[in-house]
Symmetry: C2
Amino acid sequence: MFFFRKKKKLENVSNFNNKIIKIGIDLMGGDYAPISTIEGILLSLYELKDLHLKITYYDKIDYKKLIENFINKLPKRSKIYNYFRKNLDNEILNRIEFIPCSSYISMSDKPVNILKNKDNTLVKVFELLRDGVVDGVLYAGNTGAFLETSVLVVGRLNGVKRPALLTVLPFNRPVLLLDSGANPECKPEYLLQFSIMASIYYKKIISNSLPKLGILNIGTEKIKGNSLAKESNKLIGSYIKTNDNLFSYLGFVEPYDIVNSKVDIVVTDGFTGNIMLKSFESLGEYVFNFIKKEFSLNIFNRAVGLLSRRIFKRIKSYFDYSEYGGALMIGLNGISVKTHGRANSRAIKNSINFTYKLIHNDINSIIIKELNNIRNITLNS
Amino acid sequence: MFFFRKKKKLENVSNFNNKIIKIGIDLMGGDYAPISTIEGILLSLYELKDLHLKITYYDKIDYKKLIENFINKLPKRSKIYNYFRKNLDNEILNRIEFIPCSSYISMSDKPVNILKNKDNTLVKVFELLRDGVVDGVLYAGNTGAFLETSVLVVGRLNGVKRPALLTVLPFNRPVLLLDSGANPECKPEYLLQFSIMASIYYKKIISNSLPKLGILNIGTEKIKGNSLAKESNKLIGSYIKTNDNLFSYLGFVEPYDIVNSKVDIVVTDGFTGNIMLKSFESLGEYVFNFIKKEFSLNIFNRAVGLLSRRIFKRIKSYFDYSEYGGALMIGLNGISVKTHGRANSRAIKNSINFTYKLIHNDINSIIIKELNNIRNITLNS
């Protein structure tokens, strides 16, 4: 994901309930892995003193050397340098375990091939989640592989028909988009479940208020759109009549309503959602590249460009994916977060902190309860 | 449509074959109608000396006064002012006919209501096209009404299963997108027909070279996407094996390939296409508004903003819809062009010139021939 909003400082959630939070990470996932991942991991361990990590890695990688390189790059006499020099062998290495695998998944590997050789870093890290060894997984690699493996290995939450990829779009106010890519074909009942799951996420993670929810469509009149939009509108419209505690329902919304934050949660199928997400991302890149080119056309433009540098830097920071936590595969039997393939070390660190927050808030147990409620309503009616 | 490329000068196509070109226009269509439409009409009549127009208008409108107001706004002693002062009553009014109607369609009218009272400016202008009184129609109003009315009144070209809305996306090179909103639900054979029609359009209107064509999808592997994408890929893939003269087939493409002009024609259903188009438009607006806000944050930024004004003006002109011709409803039994609801007089003028060019190139007869060829192939095989 290309553009993403200014980070918010992670609130101090450490040591809540005295539960130790354990996250699994595939060291090999991402365009700049394993260097970006190891650096992000160490930065997180420095920030969150109760964080424990299980790292699956390709056994030809010398992770000790990567750690050493990272520490040597730190400014000597800095607080963080001293921390690592002092605590590496005891406190830090007690909080992190490295698990070797004989293979790993590259960005170009096809999802269908992943389960053929199961001794790979991606399958292994999800097996840790399935077996309860970790509470959540973060992955920065191949999205297709992530979707396939997470569902196959970890499985769905009790009552969930289809897990969905939930992405936070960083407009003036955050807008949750789901499904942003997991299910190219959907049914109205999936969209209803997406709505329920996202509302719980919204309340727990974004803001403790009633979110405004809409179905993505090509117009706002009832007769507009494809049959999925129209049928889902009927289903969600009738659900909300008896269940108005989770979200307030706007009906149909369009991309214009999303960029202007007139809606908090947008539900759609994973085909349309993914196309919209990628359209936003690629147009954002296109516009910035276009502006850059214009500002280097001649000497005057270059001079004004130099003066504008600080302003553009600030603007770009709002659109920077590395400030952003990642997309949650919601509805899985465990917290699974996918961050950008281009994630650098800072992005990895932010994503680990984000995964930590998701685990801490334990949204899955609330989802199970709410879906059970609907089932009971449906059975009784 | 928000962003659109720098206009190209209309080549001098006047008086080709000595055929008089007649265009019908609904004076009442568009946010700034009837002033924007009357002004665009007069500008076009000034530029294209063989253009004839039939204008449907709401009979409470005093169009003579609108014309008078326009001429009075022109700089006295200018060439255009003198032209209108000299020729209004003879040459110009001979090329334009005003047809009164007792009602018109507003931007908020629902498509379903339009055919209830047929004596409205929109139905009437399409009846002129149906009856051969004009060769094409331009409309700047309500898109839903345009789609509905054009198909119902004008009807499909012989052999066409579904007309589609063809939009030209103005990236570094123009990219044709269809269906950009007419058919929310599509079948693979529609996408094949869209491909054939768009290729003919491309060769006649954009560039006399073989266009690269792709199906919009959420990934480029064969197994990716929804069933429409996968089935259409099979159908178009097998069609291209025996018909390689219209386009070269790329398989699946993503939004990234579109903004980078790696593809010339993108086919998809009208739901996905419309969402993508609106995502591009609304993100473009969002980014420009964001930049504007940042450049007015404080005195320094405002000063740099003033220096950058010329640069941004140039950048915005590339993204300005008013430079853009409009979207063609391709596959209809007559040329029907929809331009932006927000079209100003210059945009209306450009759209009339664009409609003129489309009529002149007579793409419909080539489409009929090509579709006949496929039918024969299918029948023989």
